[in-house]
């Protein structure tokens, strides 16, 4: 795709092997001819339906033009035809590998519009879900990236761990991939009893698995040969193309929305933003592997400081509260209809008692404010919310005109911007580098086309 961005510092067309001449060129005294290869829309390593019209001379890529739109399902237009709540299940399909993030930006945009307060417990559960989702997304990336390089086994190992985390998601949301779990000002249901312990069990195991992965891949000479020094980007390139996420952090820029614009409760947890300075495929690999470990660190802190603790305790507390509430209700009844041989309680006392009745603290709740989802109407206005998704900056711009349907929803997916830099990284490189470079960008096509 030809983007209207200013030329980067180093003209990509000056790279060795690039020739402006189409057709027959003379290189090293050989008459060679360019060949146009259509990579995709169905190809094993485009991970979806991306078409790359590539001009190659031998194995050297001379030009590349991504053709997108094969997966366009008008996700943005769909929002204008249905209520806010009806639109929510379709969000899962925008970016199916880390859809907690899409839901999060959507509901936070609405919460900002309608000025809904969110309990802390809800934010913690959301953060746990999102961080675990970051791990599953990076795990899938790890597997497919090495699969593109030709190693088949890591794919299965990564899927094994991913499945363990999916089991946790299934327990809390009821679905492995299409969660539809976050609600306006809350979550659909509290975590099931014992869920926090299950999470702890899984994430205690994960670092050892990551050690194993790194033992397979980090020092593998073939992986190093194929990744180090390949697809180097400069900071200026990234700015020009609007690349965000791990690809940017691999260039030495500690740009992470969780640190720079802390949303949710990210200012309450301690974590580092892994960066690397090389800006090549290997640096992106290292950054992602380190990010998974940071996610585990975050989840550990969230589990330890979860407001209300395990839901089993909360349910016990709620039961006690319900008992008191029953007593109060009975007393109220007796104020008006006293039993035989019994003195009617004083109305003032009962009112005092009802005032003092214990209540679940706001931060322990799973719904901040009861909202009738079917007829929910946020006031007219606009809101933009963004998060650091596994692929970079994910944003949702929402305009409401006060009706039950959104006036406009616009998604800002990281994959779209990250894809635009691909041709400039590929030109002058070898054809097999495409798999390393394209894999390292971690693009997901449904998010590009929406």
């Amino acid at each position: 795709m030809t983007t209207a961005s200013p030329a980067p510092e180093l003209s990509l067309r000056d790279k060795p092997g690039f020739s402006d001449l189409q057709g027959v060129t003379v290189e090293h005294g050989l008459n060679t001819q360019d060949m146009v290869v259509n990579i995709g829309p169905q190809h094993p390593s485009t991970h979806g339906v991306l078409r790359l019209v590539t001009t190659i001379n031998g194995e050297i890529v001379k030009d590349m033009e991504p053709v997108i739109g094969y997966l366009h399902r008008s996700k943005e237009k769909m929002a204008e035809g249905r209520s806010y709540f009806q639109y929510q299940p379709t969000i899962d399909r925008v970016e199916y590998l880390s859809s907690f993030y899409d839901h999060y930006v959507y509901v936070t945009a609405i919460e900002a519009l309608a000025d809904l307060k969110v309990p802390k417990r809800v934010e913690y559960i959301r953060m746990i879900c999102m961080e675990l989702n970051r791990i599953t997304s990076h795990l899938l990336w790890f597997g497919t990236f090495l699969l593109d390089l030709g190693a088949t086994s890591p794919f299965f190992y990564a899927f094994r761990e991913r499945e363990a985390i999916f089991k946790l998601f299934e327990d809390i949301t009821g679905a492995r991939m299409m969660y539809n779990y976050f609600r306006f000002g809350g979550v659909n249901a509290d975590a099931p009893p014992g869920w926090l312990d299950d999470v702890r069990k899984v994430i205690n195991e994960l670092p050892f698995r990551f050690d194993e992965y790194e033992a397979i891949a980090n020092k593998n000479p073939i992986v190093m040969d194929r990744c180090i020094g390949v697809g180097v980007t400069s900071y200026q390139d990234l700015l020009d193309y609007g690349v965000t996420g791990p690809s940017m952090r691999a260039c030495g820029v500690a740009q992470d929305m969780r640190k720079t614009n802390p949303y949710s409760c990210y200012n309450e947890v301690e974590f580092d933003v892994p960066t690397a300075t090389e800006g090549d495929v290997y640096a992106r690999y290292k950054v992602r592997m380190a990010e998974m470990r940071e996610s585990i660190r975050i989840v550990h802190q969230l589990l330890d400081n979860m407001p209300g603790g395990d839901s089993a305790e909360l349910r016990k507390l709620e039961k006690e509260h319900a008992k008191v509430a029953e007593e109060i209700a009975a007393a109220k009844k007796r104020v008006t209809v006293a039993k035989k041989n019994e003195e009617a309680p004083n109305a003032a006392d009962v009112a005092k008692m009802a005032e003092k009745a214990p209540e679940l603290p706001f931060d322990y709740r799973t719904t901040g404010q009861k909202v009738n989802l079917m007829v929910f109407k946020p006031p007219a206005g606009e809101a933009f919310s963004m998060v650091e998704s596994p692929r970079g900056m994910l944003g949702c711009y929402l305009v409401s005109d006060g009706t039950p349907k959104a006036y406009r929803v616009k998604w800002r997916g990281a994959s779209f911007s990250n894809l635009t830099i691909l041709p400039s990284m590929m030109i002058g490189n070898l054809y097999p580098d495409l798999m390393a470079i394209f894999g390292s960008l971690d693009i997901i096509l449904p998010e590009v086309d929406r």
């Binding site: 030709g150 086994s153 299965f156 094994r160 073939i222 090389e278 097999p432």
Partner: protein, 454 residues
């Protein structure tokens, strides 16, 4: 009696059937008959081996990746490959009008033919082999390089860009890796003093048992070079560039379907089998048992097989187990039969060890890039194999001019000064080479890690 070097049993069989085997005309007919017989035998053996290997590969990969592998068709999925084969047989043979029909059909045949011929050269025992030519080692590699033409033709005739790239890659790869392969075998030939594969196997029987096989006895270097090059020669991961599925969809055989595809598939596995068999023949003592050639405490040395080694005391003499069984059970030729069976078992066991190694590699390693593949061969393997060849030449003709494997071990003390010089040459050469390489690599890495322009 046997001017065409036919197997004795074949000639004997026909003499028993009443043919005048001394007649030159009959001898020519016998050669033709032997060709047909041999091809039939090989076709059966090769297909049986491939059917087993495909299942084995799937099971090994499943084991590596913590899966179960095929287990639905037949017990333990044993019939899975047969089912797949039948499926391929009945599939439509798709051919588009844009393809060169003649070459498209010819390519799988050219690919599979040399591999099947190669089976004839593998000495499974000193009796069970197709042909034992005096130029066997040479012919084996001459034949194996014909397969590449099949791949290039398939890539060209398919009229598919991925196939074309795959075919081109296969040509480049074959040219690069055949050189170190043959140079490594040259060291073996220098030592064995013969290019006949049977002689090479026999020559590896030495007093050190497995250590007197050529993988250790010449230098481990030759063996390592051969092993790497042979995996590249049969296009397996990490050298499976011609069919890199994440890049070229399926490489040179992308457009093939049905039985034509099955022929490519069959030939690839058959080639792997033959390559592993050649590794065993050249470097791992062929059909010799693990203890072949080791001195026995009661005098004499171990024979090629355990069963024909004198081990059972009887009438004040040591008697081989096979002979004892034959005499006890009164079965004619039982000793010989058991001997042959043991030889086949050793051979097959060793071959499958190497096949397992290749499968293990496939489950572990990623794929190289074409430029790295070429560089690895031309900058690394070929210099290494040349150093090795030089060292082996010196060792063979300067230190032990009147040869004999025994002299090395019998008079090892007299050669200590030479051994030191030899070790300095070999290890010094390798060391200097590796140092130069690593300096070059470091310089490259430094360049790669130069600060980004921003």
């Amino acid at each position: 009696m046997n001017p065409y070097n036919l197997p004795n049993w074949f000639v004997w069989l026909h003499a028993q059937l009443g043919f005048n085997v001394a007649d030159p005309g009959v001898q020519v007919l016998l050669v033709l008959a032997w060709g047909v017989t041999l091809f039939t035998l090989i076709a059966v053996v090769a297909k049986a081996a491939v059917v087993f290997m495909v299942l084995m590969e799937r099971k090994v990969l499943a084991w590596v990746t913590q899966r179960k592998g095929p287990n639905r068709v037949g017990p333990f999925g044993l019939l899975q490959t047969l089912a797949d084969g039948v499926k391929l047989l009945f599939k439509e043979d798709v051919m588009t009008p844009q393809q060169d029909k003649f070459l498209f059909t010819l390519a799988p045949a050219i690919f599979i033919f040399p591999v099947f011929v190669l089976f004839a050269f593998v000495p499974f025992t000193d009796f069970l082999f197709g042909v034992a030519l005096p130029v066997g080692a040479l012919l084996v590699f001459a034949l194996s390089s014909i397969s590449v033409i099949g791949m290039v033709l398939a890539g060209w005739a398919s009229n598919n860009k991925y196939s074309l790239l795959g075919g081109m890659r296969s040509a480049a790869q074959a040219i690069s890796y055949e050189i170190p392969l043959v140079l490594a075998v040259l060291a073996v030939v220098l030592f064995a003093g013969s290019m006949n594969l049977l002689d090479i196997v026999e020559a590896q029987r030495g007093p050190l048992g497995p250590l007197s096989w050529y993988w250790f006895y010449i230098t481990p270097l030759a063996f390592i070079v051969f092993l790497i090059s042979s995996i590249a020669e049969v296009n397996r991961i990490p050298f499976d560039l011609p069919e890199a599925e994440s890049e070229l969809v399926s490489g040179y055989n992308t457009e093939y379907s049905g039985m034509k595809f099955a022929m490519f598939f069959l030939a690839e596995y058959a080639a792997l089998f033959v390559m592993c068999a050649l590794t065993v023949v050249f470097f791992f003592g062929g059909y010799n048992s693990l203890l072949a050639g080791v001195a026995l405490p009661w005098g004499g040395t171990m024979e090629a097989t355990l069963i024909s080694t004198p081990m059972i005391p009887m009438d004040g003499e040591m008697m081989p187990l096979g002979v004892w069984l034959q005499q006890t059970l009164h079965v004619p030729n039982l000793s010989w039969l058991l001997d042959q069976l043991e030889k086949i078992s050793w051979m097959v066991l060793k071959i499958y060890t190497f096949i397992f190694f290749a499968m293990w590699l496939r489950g572990t390693l990623p794929r190289l890039k074409p430029d790295q593949l070429m560089g690895f061969s031309w900058k690394f393997l070929i210099p290494l194999s040349l150093i090795n060849l030089f060292a082996v030449g010196v060792q063979r003709f300067w230190a032990y001019p009147n040869n004999s494997l025994d002299t090395l071990f019998n008079s090892i003390t007299t050669h200590i000064p030479f051994l030191i010089v030899w070790a300095v040459i070999v290890f010094g050469g390798v060391g200097v080479f590796c140092m130069l390489m690593s300096r070059q690599l470091n310089a490259k890495t430094r360049k790669r890690f130069a600060a980004p322009s921003a």
